[in-house]
């Protein structure tokens, strides 16, 4: 009996506040936009009994999903989110790998401090970390002032409000997500394997590519998914650092809902975003499982 209560409380909570709301989104994405309150049709009217339920299902259609494919704004936004998320993930890997590598090579007594230094930004506000780049990247910002002073450029660069600023923002805020799994994989790597490779005539570089990289593969994959998945649905970074041309689907969804008040289309955008993300999420799950099995 007690056990039943223990299961029921978190179960019902997640059922009512996670699963049901999600089903509502799916349902509204199949409804039509209407000038009413709430602004969609049909409403499920249970007082009519079976007839009501049958009528309700008869009214549902995939019109909004068809609309998403005909209006170029949406598929462009999906493609551009995909592009931005991929490029940022790659950049994060390029920046994160050397840091994780150096951490794993550092003397053992430094490592807890280095770990804490990587985790500390996690605890500071995400919004503030994104905001901190606005003053650096703006037209009269610190980066431009610095480059002008160095004489590298003769007039200020436009970085803020472009896709480049979004890449920098995503790389910066998600960097710990990349460093931690890669570091975990590299730390376990047995140094004697590298010595053996070098003893057997391998150069340092080829030992790195033939031994270190394959053995850290799972950490790299995990890190890439941990950056890619949230970057796809990102809203704060493109709104603060991106420009009006920066299309990202999270921003489109937000505006569709709050500015255009088109609930059915916003819901359809959400459903498609989730369908796109299901593939990387499944792959990530499989990678984690493989890693766990390898450890056992």
């Amino acid at each position: 009996m007690r056990r039943l209560i223990l299961i029921a409380i978190p179960y019902l909570w997640l059922f009512c506040l996670f699963l049901v709301p999600f089903l509502i989104v799916v349902k509204i994405s199949l409804s039509d936009t209407a000038l009413a309150r709430p602004p969609y049709f049909p409403q499920l009217d249970l007082t009519l009994g079976w007839q009501g339920i049958r009528d309700f299902f008869a009214e549902l259609d995939f019109e909004n999903f068809v609309f998403l494919t005909t209006d170029s704004l949406y598929w462009k936004a999906y493609l551009s989110s995909l592009k931005i998320a991929l490029i940022s993930t790659l950049l994060t890997l390029l920046v994160g790998f050397p840091i994780a590598y150096a951490m794993a090579r550092a003397p053992e007594e430094w490592r807890p401090t280095l770990m804490m230094l990587v985790i500390l930004p996690f605890w500071t506000s995400f919004l503030i970390r994104v905001y901190s780049w606005m003053g650096i990247l703006s037209q009269n910002g610190l980066l431009n002032a610095f480059l002008l002073w160095l004489g590298v450029i003769s007039e200020p660069l436009t970085i803020l409000n472009t896709d480049i600023a979004v890449y920098i923002g995503i790389t910066y805020t998600y960097l710990p997500f990349m460093i931690l799994p890669v570091y975990a994989a590299l730390e376990k790597l047995d140094g004697s394997l590298l010595e053996a490779a070098e003893d057997l005539g391998c150069s340092r570089t080829s030992a790195f590519w033939l031994v270190t990289v394959p053995l850290s593969k799972q950490g790299v994959i995990a890190g890439c998914f941990l950056v890619f998945i949230p970057a796809m649905g990102e809203f704060v970074i493109p709104s603060l650092l991106g420009g009006s041309q920066t299309l990202m689907i999270g921003k489109v969804l937000y505006e569709e809902f709050f500015s255009n008040r088109d609930w059915p289309v916003a819901s359809a955008v959400a459903v498609v975003l989730l369908l796109i993300l299901i593939v990387p999420i499944m792959l990530f799950q499989r990678n984690q499982q493989k890693q766990q099995e390898a450890e056992e």
Binding site: L14, L17, P21, P38, P98, L114, F126, G141, P230, W263
Partner: protein, 271 residues
Amino acid sequence: MRRLSSFNVVSLTLGFAFLYLPMVILVIYSFNASKLVTVWAGFSTKWYGELMRNEAFLDAALVTLRVAVMTSTLATILGTCAAYVLVRIHRFPGRTLFAGMTYAPLVMPDVILGLSLLLLFIGLNVDRGVLTIVLAHTTFAMCYVSVVVSSRLVAFDASLEEAALDLGATPWQTFRLITLPIIAPAVISGWLLAFTLSLDDLVIASFTAGPSSTTLPMKIFSAVRLGVSPEINALSTIMIGLVTIGVITASLASKRAALRRAREEKAADRG
């Protein structure tokens, strides 16, 4: 001891400079007398004064703290229950669905979670305010708590619980006297994690807040949308300062606890 190669020293230096420089710059410029970003007009604390007089920010900070305290407490209780169920109870109808539901919010984009909860609240005709934000935050924060607590639950020996049950303790006594003290560090970190997640959230709060319940991130977001503001720099400095103090205190406390445990174990071995 192995020496670090110069390549590694360079990547560590550059890497940590990249991670910390933007925040350091933010802190320095919060003491700038000028409103402009690049012009240093001398040291001044006037933006802090201005911030303290800005009641909208103070109100928003209070709302955020109230939401965060309620969220983290609720999420810790629910998340610990969920972790216990997932780790210790292997068979019950709908277990796969339950495991999926505790995992999915971790990877679901904020915009989708926010949208779906807003549509639920509108459908139920609930007035939006502090309560709806707490419900929304608890839903995703409990999943993070569950991850933290279940990793601790997996690591400890279930036979300790079985022994207590065999010796006549009730399940509740076993949980209170055996399980809870062992998983306590994870429960505390779960609480802290839920607290910061709630403090930090902008997107889900914007969807689920009502007109009278603006949270601090929402306030900051609408202020910085138009550009850099020295008041926000001051506010950010205060928040960064609080977090730094909090994290350092917590890590010192856990180090002290570890040392004490080691001493006690040594004493027990001798005795």
